[in-house]
Each structure stands twice: as C-alpha cells, then as structure tokens.
C-alpha cells in the first residue's frame, strides 16, 4: 500500500452508512426538485390529462417543455457545482468559481462573435450533407463550446510555459484572458446593431432554453465522464490542498493530477455554458455551503456538489418560471441564483462562525 492509498483510504468523516445516507438524501432532494419543476410552471396543468392523452396540450407542456428543461438544469447545475468545487480546491482559492479559468470568457466571446455575425444555426457554416444535422445546433452554442475549449488550451499553454506548472499561473492566465475577452465583447457590442445587442445581452445573462433530447443525451454523457474523472481524482485532490510538496511526498503525481482535474473541470464547464450561457453563482456557492456543512473531504464534496448544484439550479429555474405571471417574462435564472443564493450563504456563514465562537 503506497502512502497515497493510505491517505485516500482514510476513513470518511461520517462513516460509510451516514455518507451513503447523505448522498442519498441529496439525490432525493435533486429528484424532488426535478419532479416539482416538471409539475409546476406558468400554466397549471392536469397531470391526469397529461398522462391519459399524449396529444393534449398538458402532455406537450409536461413532456416536451418542462421535463427537458428541468433535465437541462440538472445537467448544467451538476457541472457547475462540481467544477466549482474542484477548482476551489485545486487553486486553493475560496473565490474560485467554474469561470476562473478563462472558460467563461472564451464561451462568451465565441457566442458573441456568432451572434454578431448573424449566424442562427451551425448549418450556415457548412455545405450538405452535414448541413442538415448541423441545422439543429445553434451557432452561438457551437462557437461558445469552441471558444471555451480554445480559452482552456490557451490557459494551459500559459500556465506551463514557465516550465513547472503552478495553480497560480493558470489562475492568473485565466483571469487575464477573461479580462481580454470582456474587452473584446465590449468592442463587438459597440459595433453591432441594437437588435443584435439585445440578443448578446440575453445570451450573456444565462438562460435555460428548450434543447432536443439528443442534445441533452450528449450533454449528459459529457458531464458523466467529466464529473466521473473529477470524482476519481478527489482522493488526490485532498492531498493537493495540503500543498504541492506535501502532496508529492505522499506519492501524488502533482502535475499530472492537476492537468487531469483542470481538463475535467474545463470540459464540464464548456459543455454547460455552450447550452445555457453564463449562469453565475451556482459554482461558487454550492461547494461553499456544502463545505460548511460536510467539511473539506473532496471525496464527499465532489459528488455532493454535483447533486447540490443540480438541485439548486433546478429550483432556481422553477422560481424564475413561476415569476412569469408577475413580470410577463422569465427572469434570467442567474438573477435568481444570486438573489436567493447570496443571502442564504451569508446566513449559513454567520451561523457557522457563531458556532465556532461558542465552541471555543
């Protein structure tokens, strides 16, 4: 048994039964959010009519609108929660969120270019026969995905050029690339027509739309792989939080582990932002709330962040949709995540601090 194995095999904080119960409870909350999100919305629908008559409007709303959107929220929420958690540990920075590594800047720049160029669907880029298949993918999504992968590659190149890679080099390159991208976006915004400006702003605010089943399946597959990789590395991630030297002395391949984790997180975020734009706050707050509650063990935090992020984003989207009757439009879901999540987090933080003071 290597020292690394010894550390990774360290007993969980809560014991196996309680850990399983915890993960189970979070999964149940997530499922409940999914069910509520499918059941409730702007319109009241009759479940009986929806189940009995597949041609009814109620059935169309339930199966074709609400359920795919709730599933999209689950996929994207899980991606943002997990990658936020992994990046906070990896960069040893509590302010890190899924967008620190330049992924958001790359995605936003890609989508902005696509909208400014007036590209509706990806089919406008290629001739037949892939033409028709691309007709189902929106060009901003495709460009956002490409942009975030490009930004990730750039950040990696920047972080490694100094010989030894360090989390700070990656972090700084990411932050600087984001600043560059936001300047480029401002420049494009100044140059485009007002009607395109509206579209760009709408995309940047982050919204959950109506994706096709095939798109959802591909996105889910990508996230299962990316989140799976982050979870597999979570034992080593525990050691990396001690510092590179300590981790290396305990048998962790520091550079390789960090590369795999950064790639997993970037891929996960790229897959998420391509579909929804930039939804803030989920990836920052969900890992923090869970860490306050569960402690710093990444083996538990990574899967719990996936479930927590999914539940949080799904319920936030439900709130956004329910507010339609009030505003006659859906608020961007990022508004709800920040307005609900911010105060909630401050309350939790304060309670935790009080407990610590009393415990002393």
């Amino acid at each position: 048994m290597t020292p690394e194995d010894a550390f990774i095999a360290r007993p969980l904080r809560f014991g196996l039964a309680r850990t399983a119960a915890l993960v189970g409870a979070l999964a149940a909350i997530c499922l409940l959010a999914l069910a509520l999100s499918a059941r409730l919305g702007e319109q009241s629908i009759s479940l009986r009519a929806a189940l009995a008559d597949p041609t009814s409007t109620d059935a169309a709303i339930l199966w074709s609108l609400r359920l795919p959107r709730a599933i999209l929220a689950v996929i994207v929420g899980a991606a943002l929660g997990t990658s936020g958690c992994a990046l906070q540990a990896l960069t040893r920075n509590p302010l890190a969120d899924p967008f620190v590594l330049g992924v958001s800047g790359g995605a936003a720049l890609g989508a902005t270019v696509a909208i400014a160029a007036g590209l509706g669907t990806a089919s406008q880029l290629a001739a037949t026969p892939i033409h028709e298949a691309l007709g189902r993918i929106s060009a901003p999504s495709l460009f956002a995905f490409a942009g975030s992968l490009g930004a990730t590659a750039l950040v990696f190149a920047g972080a490694r050029s100094g010989g030894q890679s360090s989390p700070y080099a990656a972090l700084l390159t990411g932050v600087i690339f984001n600043a560059f991208a936001s300047a480029a976006i401002t420049c494009i915004k100044a140059l485009v027509m007002p009607d395109k400006l509206g579209e760009i702003l709408y995309w940047l605010a982050g919204t959950l739309g109506y994706e096709r089943g095939s798109t959802l399946a591909a996105a889910a597959l990508l996230q299962v792989v990316a989140i799976g990789v982050m979870w597999l590395c979570s034992g080593s991630l525990n050691l990396l939080t001690l510092g590179d030297d300590d981790a290396a002395s305990l048998g962790v391949h520091v550079a390789r582990t960090r590369l795999v984790l950064l790639l997993g997180a970037s891929l996960s975020v790229a897959g998420a932002v391509a579909l929804t734009g930039l939804i803030g706050f989920v990836g920052l707050i969900v890992p923090h709330v869970l860490r306050l509650w569960l402690g710093p063990d990444q083996r538990l935090l990574i899967p719990c962040s996936a479930l927590g992020g999914a539940a949080f984003l799904t319920s936030s989207d439900l709130v956004a949709r329910l507010l339609f009757s009030l505003f006659h439009t859906e608020l961007p879901v990022g508004v709800i995540t920040a307005i609900v999540g911010g105060p909630l987090f401050l309350v939790l933080l304060r309670r935790r601090e009080l407990q610590r003071v009393e415990g002393l």
Partner: protein, 288 residues
C-alpha cells in the same frame, strides 16, 4: 435489409429540419393553420396592430408584453419578442401564432411549431416588408380583401404625401434615435424610407447602416436643416443643439411612436413626418 431501411428512415427523420426559419420572407412553420383561424397569438405590437387594423382584433387571445393598446389590455401576455414563453403560447391553444423572426427567438418559435402551434413568421423591417406582411396576414385570416384595401390606402397616403412634398423645397434632415451614443437613421431604416417619401434628404449621408452610431463631427458637418429628435434624453439633446453645425437647424421632438416601428400605422407616421418638416404646408385629409 428491412432493418437497414428502417435505420435510414430514422436517421432521415432526425436530420430533416422541421421547417425552414427564414429571416427575410414570410414563412409558415408547424402544422397548417385552419382557413379562418379564430384563436390568434401575436408576439410583436406591429403584428397586433395589423390584426386589429384588419378588423380581427376579437380573434386575438394572447399578445406580447410590449403591447399597450387598450383593445388588448385584458389579453394574456406571452412574453417578449426574443423571449416568448412557449408554455404560455401553447396553453392558449392558438390556431395561428404571428411572429417577427429573429435569430434570438428561433429556438422558442421552432419549439412552438413543433408542439403543434401553426406559426407564421413575418419580417417587418421596411415599408415593402410591412405591405407584404399585411397581405400575408390577410390571406392567413381569410381577410385578403380587407388587407388589400388597407395596403391600397397606405399606398394612396404615400402618393399623396409624395405629391405634396414635390411642391416643397427639399430639406436636409437628421433623424436621431439617441444621443449617448449618437444613433441616427441610416439607409435601410424605416425612418429613412419615410423621410424619402416626405421629400426630405437624409442628412446622415455618411451612415452605413440602418441604425448607425454617428460621430458628433459628422453630425455637425451634416448641414441639417431639421433635426428630428426621437430620443428620450432631453439633457443630451440640449448639449447637441448648442453645437455649431446643429445650432441653426430647426429641432423638433417626435410627437408619437408611429414613426418608430413599422406597421399599419405607417401612414400616420408619414403624415406626421410631413407635418413636422413642412408645418405651413397643411395636412391633406386622409381617408381614415
């Protein structure tokens, strides 16, 4: 063999787009609407106005959140131009949904069509598109005769204004949408077309697009006789009206929003712009 055919059919059904979403011509999406649809949803005020102008306002069941006409005050709101709620539209069980196509509303509009709402997408950016859309909506509602009468009436107004404008000295006009930044009506904009009909010369001759951001220096050198102010910001307008090249121009405030959005109110917009430019010329009585 049969399985291979089946697989091919499945792949084909996945690939074939449900329908084309065109930005430059009227297009039907989704199922065919009934010959005279009774339940109509509109996603833009100009479309709502067209339906009302055709005398079919009582068939409307849902409108956009930007609609503020008293005729539709009690109707359900189904969201905005780029952010319509598919759920709200579908649950109204519309027999026809009228939309203005844009890349931004492509996804929700295609979704509505896919879920069984007959959609008619109508671009309305300029006078030609407005007239074409009015005829198309008339045909869709079974009111082609009325639509034709409406189009003829608009054309008559245009001819009458053009005839009256010929008797006037052509004015150079700068049409301003906003001051910070300075945005003017350039070629291809709706206001530019109305200015031409009213016998004016668009002073923003350096503008290269419909809603062009213009430099203050270009504006000063535009030799405008009249500046039409369609902006909300009066403080900024005040600053610009003191600039050397613009000081001697006659500044007029836009009296109504008919000039700003293409739709069946365009004859009113045209009369308004003519009256603004040539206050002494008087307004000929219009048919309506």
């Amino acid at each position: 063999m049969r399985r291979a055919v089946l697989v091919l059919l499945v792949i084909r059904s996945l690939l074939v787009a449900t329908s084309a979403f065109a930005l430059d011509r009227p297009t039907y999406l989704g199922p065919k609407p009934p010959p005279s649809p009774r339940r109509i949803v509109t996603l833009a005020p100009s479309l709502t106005e067209t339906v009302i102008a055709l005398g079919a306002g009582d068939r409307l069941v849902g409108v956009s959140r930007f609609d503020d006409l008293p005729e539709v005050a009690k109707l359900a709101r189904v969201g905005g131009f780029v952010d319509p709620s598919v759920e709200a539209v579908i649950s109204l069980k519309p027999q026809l949904v009228l939309v203005q196509p844009s890349p931004g509303n492509r996804q929700p509009v295609e979704k509505m069509a896919e879920l069984g709402a007959p959609v008619l997408a109508l671009p309305m950016h300029n006078i030609a598109e407005v007239l074409r859309s009015m005829r198309e909506i008339g045909a869709a509602l079974g009111l082609s005769d009325r639509a034709e009468r409406l189009v003829q009436e608009l054309e008559r107004t245009r001819q009458s204004v053009r005839a009256r404008a010929r008797a006037q000295k052509p004015l150079r006009v700068l049409f301003v949408y906003g001051f910070e930044p300075l945005v003017v009506a350039g070629p291809g904009s709706f206001a530019d077309e109305l200015l031409k009909d009213a016998g004016a010369i668009n002073a923003a001759d350096k503008a290269d697009s419909a809603y062009s951001v213009y430099s203050a220096e270009n504006a000063v050198r535009s030799r405008a006789d009249v500046v039409i102010n369609a902006a909300e910001d009066d403080a900024a307008a005040e600053k610009f009206s003191r600039l050397a090249g613009l000081k001697q121009a006659r500044w007029v405030k836009l009296p109504s929003k008919d000039l700003l959005h293409p739709g069946p109110g365009l004859h009113k917009g045209l009369e308004e712009i003519f009256a603004l430019l040539y206050p002494g010329a008087g307004t000929a009585p219009v048919a309506r």
